[in-house]
């Protein structure tokens, strides 16, 4: 909990400072100190939406994970469980947006400047991706064994969905992003490299295993849900009908790892139970190249993103308890619409 608080606090401070102060030189604040500028109103806007999103977002995400997990326990298929998971954070997001809209309309002052060199926006996007688990590594809690899988195939039931808010000048842009991601392992035969001895429950003793082994993984063996909260920074390139940009982003990941199986070392399905239900904080990063089709008060965009999301968690039971880690690597194609805040 302390770790969660530290991460969120750091992210909140970085978001607030970077989004509100980074481009002070290009403002007209010296001329219009008394005026209600778009920049000033945007700062006020951030003060409202950042705490709201960063508190209610993770809360709704965790609630969704609990509902989805309960659906698995109740015997619902993974697709239905994922649907239930998605509803809670989406609903919370919609409520936050509705409230933000009201505050923006009635609570915030109307900017009096017509400075159109900076575009303040909200984005909603969908980001289908091609993904895989890379460098899966498991280590026994007893320190007697380790196993690794070079690559495992993953898929999605629902594409990643996200929200971004920020600004873009003619040469530079920055935004805060929150997104929901759900991936799962596909049905496959995984071949893994094993070292050491592992406890065998049937014989009540540690046994040697061959170094080369295979395991039949059912679909949704691992169900991975993440809430990403991070910052993006990008350079805007010259417009040629569409506006290209290039940048990078990074942030905190609230990861949930669920399975009906205790862990890769123990493939006995727990009927009517969620044998693995871990939540952890980690971090992820991505590059981005995008193209915006700008209109007067909005834009449509497509963005290509190589992303790297880290996972670390504990799984397994008793003497088969293990520490697992891997990188979920994906190539995301983000399609979205941005709308001027003012």
């Amino acid at each position: 909990m302390v770790k969660l608080f530290q991460y969120l606090f750091c992210l909140f401070m970085v978001s607030s400072i970077s989004l509100s102060n980074i481009y002070s030189k290009d403002s007209t604040s010296q001329i219009e100190q008394g005026a209600v500028t778009q920049k000033k109103v945007f700062k006020e806007y951030l003060k409202i939406i950042l705490p709201a999103n960063m508190f209610f977002g993770p809360y709704a995400f965790m609630y969704g994970v609990t509902i989805g997990g309960q659906a698995i326990v109740d015997g619902d298929p993974p697709l239905k469980a994922n649907t239930k998971w998605l509803v809670a954070p989406l609903l919370a997001g919609a409520l936050i947006q509705m409230k933000t809209f009201e505050i923006k309309k009635y609570g915030l002052k109307k900017p009096t400047d017509d400075n159109n060199s900076t575009f303040y926006y909200n984005i909603f996007y969908v980001g289908p991706d091609i993904s895989s688990i890379k460098e899966f590594n498991a280590k026994g809690d007893d320190g007697k064994w380790s196993a690794d899988v070079a690559e495992a195939k993953t898929g999605t039931d629902y594409p990643p969905l996200g929200y971004r808010t920020g600004f873009s000048t003619r040469s530079f842009g920055m935004d805060f992003e929150m997104s929901l991601l759900a991936h799962h392992t596909l049905e496959q035969k995984a071949y893994y490299n094993f070292e050491g001895q592992i406890y065998n429950e049937d014989y009540n003793m540690y046994v040697d295993l061959p170094t080369s082994m295979e395991i039949d993984l059912p679909s949704h063996f691992l169900m991975l849900h993440s809430m990403y909260m991070g910052i993006n920074a990008y350079y805007v390139l010259p417009n040629f009908g569409v506006t290209p940009y290039i940048g990078a982003g990074g942030g905190a990941l609230l990861n949930s790892i669920q399975s009906q199986y205790p862990g890769p070392a123990n493939l006995v399905q727990e009927d009517g139970a969620l044998a693995l239900d871990e939540m952890e904080l980690n971090w992820g990063y991505h590059g981005m190249v995008g193209f915006r089709y700008m209109r007067e008060k909005s834009f449509y965009y497509v963005e290509l993103r190589p992303t790297f999301h880290n996972f670390q968690y504990e799984s397994g039971l008793g003497r088969l308890k293990e520490h697992d880690q891997f990188v979920l690597q994906s190539f995301q194609i983000q399609l979205g619409v941005g709308k001027n805040i003012f």
Partner: protein, 294 residues
């Protein structure tokens, strides 16, 4: 705790940071800026968008493959390793690229997106290999069997054995040498980040090289899954070229380019699963046309 997290950043992360820096610096050279006194945007001249097409020979340098499994006798060693010094490649389609860039005086920069497609033509490849391959259990060998590979061997690769599709984005910084009116010789250096797709109708190099051994134990390579991977990689380019400014709106370009792309992927299947690394080197002649943006 934060320092601990920083320690977790691996070499791949640093590569991405360096590439991002290299992409941003050339763009910054030619990007718009604001006059602090007037608050107005200052636009540098000679900004352009261009497309190019190129063709040329290539090769896979230092192709290295290692088993995804460790040796049963010595777990710190891989079950088998193999390497090939040189494999010839050729364009399966011409390289295509889109560039956004500009120059100011002697210095220029470009953001470049490109597609490079190479394939291996039919050839005999000689490779160095060490270790053993694991044969899964058969009725004759219920515990499986470790077959020691020959230290030097060769394999005849069919045409199209490996297909490389590299989708890159990167930055090029270049020197723009004033020569005669409207003619600008250039020499530059670029770094790029790529998504590399490697395809084959076979499972991978290791499986293909071991197909005869495996066949003796009753396995047919045709039953295996074909290779189709997507991984991230990086590369660098050295373009030496010429720009001809035809008029205020257009220019034509020609360059000779040495390009190296560092590619890694997971190939083959079952107990022959392997980690492969190689450098796709190509020599290209690119012809392009560009339009100046006002």
């Amino acid at each position: 705790m934060f320092l601990y997290e920083l320690k977790e950043i691996n070499i791949k992360t640093f590569k991405i940071i360096i590439i991002a820096f290299w992409v941003v610096v050339p763009i910054r050279i030619v990007s718009q800026s604001f006059d602090p006194e007037t608050g107005k945007a200052i636009y540098s001249s000679n900004k352009y968008i261009s497309v190019y097409m190129g063709y040329g020979p290539g090769s896979l340098e230092n192709f290295y493959a290692e088993s995804a499994f460790s040796s049963p006798e010595n777990p710190s060693e891989r079950l088998w390793t193999a390497n090939v010094l040189d494999v010839t490649t050729e364009n399966s389609l011409p390289q295509l690229g889109l560039k956004f860039g500009g120059w100011k005086g002697w210095f220029g920069g470009e953001l470049e997106m490109s597609i490079l497609r190479h394939k291996t033509p039919d050839q005999i490849v000689y490779y160095d290999s060490h270790g053993q391959i694991f044969i899964p259990p058969t009725p004759d060998y219920p515990d499986g069997y470790y077959y020691t590979v020959e230290p030097q061997d060769s394999v005849a690769l069919p045409d199209n054995f490996l297909n490389f599709n590299s989708y890159s984005i990167g930055g090029v910084a270049y020197l723009n040498i004033p020569f005669i009116k409207n003619l600008y010789p250039t020499i530059g250096f670029g770094l790029s980040f790529a998504m590399n797709n490697v395809k084959s109708e076979y499972p991978g190099p290791g499986s293909f090289a071991a197909k005869n051994v495996m066949a003796a134990f009753g396995y047919d390579i045709k039953d295996s899954q074909s290779l189709n991977t997507a991984d991230f990689g990086w590369g660098f380019d050295i373009p030496i070229g010429l720009k001809y400014r035809a008029n205020d709106n257009m220019f034509f370009s020609a360059d000779f380019r040495l390009s190296k792309k560092y590619i890694s992927f997971v190939g083959s299947d079952a107990y022959l699963k392997e980690k492969d690394e190689t450098v796709l080197q190509s020599f290209q002649i690119n012809l392009g046309v560009g339009k100046f943006i006002n």
